[in-house]
Amino acid sequence: MTRGEYKIAQKTSVFRLLKDKMAGSVMFTFTMLSVLLLILIGAGLVIKSLPILEEKSLWELLFTSKWKPMRGDFGFLPFIMGTLWVTVIAIVWTLPVSLFTAIFLTENSRSWVKKVVFPALDILAGLPSVVYGVWGILVVVPWISDSLAPHFVEYSTGYSTLTAGIVLGIMILPLMISLFVELFSSVPQDLREASLSLGATRWQTTKYVLLKKTFPGMVASVTLAISRAMGETIAVLMVCGNIVQMPGSLFDGCYPLPALLANNYGEMLSLPLYESALMLSALILFVVVFVFNIVSRLILRKIERTLV
């Protein structure tokens, strides 16, 4: 390299720095844009649901149960109750299952068990929602209507709140298990050894050390799972029965919010108030998911900081 070439190298050095700066600002733009998406969705939903909020009070919308869009009655209560019931059922039965499985995976099992269970969970997590729906229709619906329901009620089609809860539970199972496993693995090994060396059994160690230590994290994980469960659409829609009513028993059909949105959106746009009402249901989902997510993420983050 001669002196002249060196000059060129100096120039390319300036060019390199320029490239670095330019790339930096392009990346910054992408980052900001993707964050902006969140604000955009929120704002869009609010603007679109303003018409109905101006017409009716929020109280009336959320806590009355008359749903006659053609006559202008928009009571969201049946849908909200439907969502709540389905979510509660799903969480109630998956919580113990996922908790015990996660404890088994982190505390007791040998490595080969993990090698078998984790791929199975991966499969479960990866299956499309619609496949769960098909499975629900083929397996859970007949089981409920033929075997389970006759013991409790006179007649059930099988397309019920309970069915939706079961199917939804299986869908959030892998999420819950992986959240719990992550949580339990973050507990330092020393803590367990301290307890074991005092003569505690494995289960006692789990009960008094692990579960106690990770309790806030478990709350956060469950919150996260709830917010995921609430938004699940297609699978629930396929098995829940889609009947606008307050579910009286577990074997009645119900109509959760996402199902309302999926079934009616895009068709009833001639009625501006109806469209606005549907957007309000999307907004409700958005707000719930937003709040739940922020809360649980902040808790989880705080735990991460204290444990590390």
Binding site: E5, A9, T12, S13
Partner: protein
């Protein structure tokens, strides 16, 4: 230069061997040969203060790094040795909440002046970290990476550089048949030597080593130490170490630090034989470490 038996592949690497060009260097043609004794590189630390997350880590550190000598920074752990080393290279900037006042001056350029172009100054300083950290690519690319960045893209010249610096650190015979296999597959001692070669390939004047032998087995660390002694003829080497014996073996100059301050600095003989401060005497006699 006498050539060993050459396989076909190696012949290819040898085709355009030009030792003069290599010695002269590709990235510093404004200087004379590094073998010229008149050429001196110069690094001065001037009243450097570093505060990380509210902790005052370095307190008013002023010192001069001599060229073509091995300078050992010694002191108990947590005294700011590594921080001082990183601040010589401006690598502390990558962390949040770091406040730095004072100056490091390399060949007349102020590192901490606003708007300074840091990349060409960093090129002048090779860094060897505690654990060897090869880049996630092949052995060949590890060495070629820095050269490519600084504009050397000629394949033949790159081949030459790779071989030259692998020879310089004594790796060539060990890896010449697997130059294109991942660097991660080498032993840890080899990895550290590769990191050294990678640093040398961009023709630095300084070598900064942060406890470079502490993760290695005794034989590998001996190899690295011997390399440092050899490289002393051409480079200024700054070595952070917490093993006094290593400092005794190879240091020309010694800087003793305690609680973020330089307690004493001088030639190895001065510090080890006639320490002036009480703290230094205590440390050297093993009262604390």
């Amino acid at each position: 230069m006498k050539l060993p038996f050459l396989s076909k592949k190696i012949k290819w690497y040898m085709a355009d061997w030009n030792e003069t060009e290599l010695k002269k260097g590709f990235f510093r043609p404004d200087q004379k040969f590094r073998t010229d004794n008149a050429m001196r590189s110069n690094m001065v630390v001037d009243h450097l203060n570093v505060t990380i997350q509210g902790n005052h880590i370095l307190k008013d550190v002023s010192v001069e790094i001599p060229d073509r000598k091995i300078t050992c920074i010694i002191g108990p752990s947590g005294c700011g040795k590594s921080t001082l080393l990183k601040s010589l290279n401006r690598l502390l900037d990558a962390n949040e909440d770091v406040k730095i006042t004072g100056q490091v001056i390399v060949d007349g350029e102020e590192l901490y002046a606003p708007g300074v172009e840091i990349t060409h100054i960093r090129r002048k300083m090779g860094l060897l970290s505690q654990r060897p950290c090869p880049l996630p690519m092949s052995i060949y690319d590890n060495i070629a990476y820095g050269c490519r960045i600084h504009g050397l893209r000629n394949r033949k010249k790159l081949n030459m550089v790779v071989r030259y610096y692998l020879q310089a650190v004594g790796l060539w015979e060990e890896v010449k048949d697997r130059l294109h296999s991942p660097a991660a597959r080498m032993s840890i001692g080899q990895q550290q030597r590769l990191c050294l070669a990678r640093g040398l390939a961009v023709e630095p004047q300084f070598i900064l080593a942060d406890e470079a032998t502490s993760a290695l087995d005794p034989i590998s660390s001996k190899t690295i130490e011997d390399l440092f002694l050899k490289l002393r003829e051409e480079y200024a080497i700054v070595l952070v170490t917490h093993t006094l014996r290593q400092a005794l073996r190879i240091a020309d100059y010694v800087i003793f630090m305690y609680m973020g301050e330089i307690v004493e600095a001088g030639t190895a003989e001065q510090i080890f034989k006639h320490p002036q401060k009480e703290l230094t005497q205590k440390y050297l006699s093993g009262v604390f470490s």
